[in-house]
Structure formats: C-alpha cells, structure tokens
C-alpha cells in the first residue's frame, strides 16, 4: 500500500510538474503535430496510399516516445540541477521507486501527444480512426505506457552516475522509432535490427496498439510488453544499486 501510494503521489506530482514546464508542453504539443503533418504529406506523396492510415497511428505513437525520452532523460538531471537529487537518494524508500513514477509520469504525458496527433489527423486531414478492437485498444495504451515508463527507468538509471548521459536522450529518438517499428515495419530494416526491436518493450506495446486498431491478436504482444517491462525493472533495480553506491563512493551525486 505504501509503495502504491508512493508511485501514485510521484506520478501525480510529475504530471503536474511537467504540465507547468513551458518547454515540455511546447515539445509535447507542437513536435508531434509537426511529425504528424510531415508523415501525412510524405506518405500521401508516396506510391503506396494504403500506408497513410498506418502512418497516422505511427505518428501518434512516435509522439509518446518523444515525450517519454525527453522527460525520462531529464528526470534525474533536473533533480540534480535543482539540488533535490541527494534528498531523494537519502529518503527511506528505494530510490528506484522514487524515480519510477517520474518516468511513468513522462510516458503518461505522452498520452496527450497520441490524442492530439489522432485528433489533428482526424480534423485536419480527415483520416478516420476506427479501432477494430476498441476495448483492447483501451488496454493496450496503458500497457504500452507502462512499457515505455519501464524503458525510461532503465535510461534514467544511467543518469545517476554519468553527468553527460542525458546526451543519450538527444540521440535515442530516431533509433528507437526505427528499432521498435513504430512507423517503418521491422521487415524493411536489416535483420539484426529486428533482434534489438524484439528486446524493446515498446515494440510489443506499439504492436498491441496497432493490432487493436487494424486487427489481429492483441493479447500476445501485450503480454510480451508486460513481461519485458518486468525484466527492465530487474535490470534497473540491479543497475541502480551499483550506480547509486558508486556515485556515493565518488561523491559525484550532486555534480552537474
């Protein structure tokens, strides 16, 4: 119960914090719409008009990753800059449980990106959004957000130790869009990238969402997304233990 309360309070706090950040709101609002417009015209100009609808959902899912990456990447750096990182590490709950709601909150904000993108494409371009399995779609969205939050947790973990690790967040936007097959099918990429994609929980989360919209078995990818998220927790727990201890030993926790 105390853990659930911690996660909930942290999640609500994080969402409030992010929605008051002008830069983050701007990024969450404007960037997904630019990409939605770009992909619409790109796919409309192409020789495969049937892919336009496919790209519409993909653009929405891209926005969720951008929000998650940007805010998860900054989760620990921002605490460090504000001087609250040491207090959070010193607090009685496990540091991982303090950080997880921060990354989960970032992914939750991404919901706005998805909603805004789908609404934009519906209103501006007249693209229909009629999921084949609406009930499964409602379940697939939080599952995918959970998967993204877990991946964000692994990313954020590395930030405890490495001061410049948030440069990773500058780099990871496009590669994860590619590796998770969010808009370009994995079958088009070199074979080895599929292996990376399969190890990423969002790949399965995106697939569950896609199948709930276009048809197909939703439960299997949803299960894979949850299972991989659990693995990410284990990895993050292990890494956080090492990184936190090393940062304490080197006294680098607050160095910005």
């Amino acid at each position: 119960m105390r853990v659930a309360r911690l996660v909930w309070v942290g999640l609500v706090f994080r969402v409030k914090e992010l929605t008051r950040s002008g830069l983050f709101v701007f990024t969450s609002v404007i960037e997904p719409l630019i990409f939605a417009t770009l992909t619409y015209y790109l796919f409309s100009a192409g020789s495969r008009p049937e892919t336009v609808i496919y790209s519409a959902l993909g653009a929405g899912m891209m926005g969720i990753w951008t929000s998650t990456l940007f805010a998860s990447g900054g989760a620990i750096s921002w605490q460090r800059w504000q001087g609250t990182l040491e207090l959070l590490v010193a607090a009685p709950p496990a540091f991982l449980l303090v950080i997880f709601p921060l990354t989960l909150g970032s992914a939750t904000i991404g919901l706005y990106s998805l909603t805004a993108t789908l609404a934009w494409e519906r209103v501006v371009f007249g693209l229909p959004f009629d999921p084949v399995h609406p009930f499964q779609f409602v379940l697939a969205v939080p599952t995918m957000i959970f998967g993204l939050g877990a991946l964000g947790l692994v990313i954020a973990t590395s930030f405890v130790l490495y001061r410049n690790a948030n440069a990773l967040s500058n780099m990871l936007e496009f590669p994860v869009w590619l590796a998770t097959g969010v808009i370009v099918p994995l079958s088009l990429l070199p074979g080895w990238t599929s292996v990376i994609g399969w190890m990423l929980a969002p790949t399965w989360g995106f697939e569950a969402m896609r199948r709930s919209v276009f048809g197909g078995d939703v439960w299997a990818p949803m299960g894979m997304c949850l299972a991989l998220s659990a693995v990410y927790f284990g990895i993050a727990w292990y890494l956080m233990g090492i990184f936190e201890r090393r940062a304490r030993e080197r006294a680098t926790l607050s160095l910005a």
């Binding site: 701007f26 790109l42 100009a45 020789s47 892919t51 490495y162 440069a167 990773l168």
Partner: protein, 261 residues
C-alpha cells in the same frame, strides 16, 4: 582591425564558453549520431512509403542536419549569454554589434559544415547514395552556402532568446518545421501552396534543391539560380537577425529585462 578581432576572437571565445556540447560525450551523440539516425530514419520511411529514392532523403537530411549547429548552436551561443548572466556586461561594451553577433555565428558555421559532411558521408556508406566523384566539390560548396544561410536563421532564433525565457521553445519547432517546410523530406510540389511559400522563404530550401540536382549529375552553373536564391534568403535572415538583436537590446535596456529569467 578591432572589428575583425571582435568578430574572430570574440566569436571563438563565445563558442568555447557557451556551446555546451563540446565535450565528446555530448558532441558525438548529439551532433554526429543524432543526424545519422535522422538520415537513416527518413530514408527508411521513404522506402516504406515509396515516396523518393534514398538519395533524395540523404541529400535533404544530410544538409538539413547542419541546423543542429546553425539553429541549436546559435541558440546556445546567443541565448546562453542570458543564462550565464553575461549579457548585461556584453551589451554594456561599446563593441560593434555586427562584429559581436556575426562573430558568434562563424564557429557554428564550421561546426554545421562538419556535421553535414559527416551525415552525407555516412549516408554514402550505408544507403543507396552514390554521387559522381566530380560532383563532390560542388555539393560541398552548397553545404557551406546552406550552413551560412541556416546560421543566419539561427542567429534570428538566438535573438529571440534575448526576449523569451527559454530559447529552445523557439529552436525546437524551428528545427522540426524545417524538416517539413524546406523540401527536406516531402517534395515542395506535394505540399499545400502556403506551406511551400513559407518554405521558399526559409534557409536550406533552395540549397537542398540545388544539391539534389548536382548529386544527380547537373553542373553547379545550371543550378546557379537556386544558389543565388539561397544566398539571398541567407542575407535576408542576417538582416532580420541583426534588426531583432538591436530591437531586443534596446527594449531590454528600456524595460530592464535583459537578464530576467
């Protein structure tokens, strides 16, 4: 001589002091890896949608990534004066303003050319982009022209950083709008008229079009109209940037808001 010293030495020192991504651990992921992944992403998106060839996306994105330095770099180096509370001291000096601000663009131009050349080189290695060896010097020249005009645009974005609290609120959409409006990924004739009209007033649009023709075998002379248009757009943005900087400086002095965060 003083003008040149402020332009050269001042620009260099400003870059060293304010460009936050100089460390290799920042520079490589941000300025080299990110552009490469951008090129790969759009090239594969193009293959999936059946829009254009790899070469179209490599040239478009390979040149557009100079905006990493031209837009973000300028935002950091000009807007950064405000964050570090050096803006007041800087503007209290009697230094020539054109030397002061244009000098800040020069290191970013060099950086932008480097980023673009790296992106195009990796595109050549990894994708189906094989320009004739004879066209490489012309493409390089076009990269330089595009980076200059893009840095002028970035200077205008940086000027807005003197006015707005967070310059990245301007720089982020500016960078991504260029992907949409400058013919980087979508042929201009496939965009609505109002979008392509805006695009023709932005840097890179004409330079990218010229570079695509050159990479396809055309001579530099045959695309001279596009090159001159790109130069003209860059010159216009330089004037806009200079006017914005002077206006925001005067406004900041009048309202005592130069260092308001």
């Amino acid at each position: 001589m003083t003008w040149l010293r402020i332009f050269g030495v001042g620009g260099y020192l400003s870059y060293r002091a304010l460009f936050n991504w100089q460390s290799p651990t920042y520079y490589i992921p941000t300025m080299l890896a990110h552009p490469v992944f951008q090129i790969l992403f759009f090239a594969y998106l193009g293959r999936f949608s059946g829009t254009e060839s790899d070469a179209f996306f490599v040239v478009g994105n390979g040149i557009q990534v100079c905006a990493m330095a031209g837009v973000y770099g300028m935002a950091l180096t000009v807007g950064g004066e405000r964050w570090t509370h050096t803006l007041g001291s800087l503007l209290a000096t009697p230094a020539n303003r054109s030397a002061l601000f244009l000098g800040r663009a020069l290191p970013n131009v060099v950086n932008g050319v480097l980023v673009s050349v790296f992106g195009l080189g990796v595109g050549r290695l990894l994708l189906d982009f094989h320009p004739a060896p004879g066209s490489v010097p012309s493409i390089f020249l076009l990269v330089v022209v595009c980076t200059l005009s893009c840095s002028a645009f970035g200077l205008a974005v940086g000027a807005l950083g003197l006015r707005f609290r967070d310059v990245f609120m301007i720089a982020n959409p500016a960078y991504f709008l260029m992907l949409l409006l400058c013919g980087v990924n979508v042929p201009l004739d496939r965009l609505p008229n109002w979008m392509s009209t805006i695009g023709s007033g932005l840097p890179l649009t004409h330079g990218i079009a010229a570079a695509r023709e050159v990479a396809d075998g055309a001579s530099l002379g045959s695309v001279s109209t596009l090159v001159w248009k790109e130069i003209a757009v860059g010159a216009c943005w330089t004037v806009v940037a200079y006017v914005l900087l002077r206006v925001f400086e005067a406004e900041g002095r009048r309202r005592a808001t130069l260092e308001t965060m």
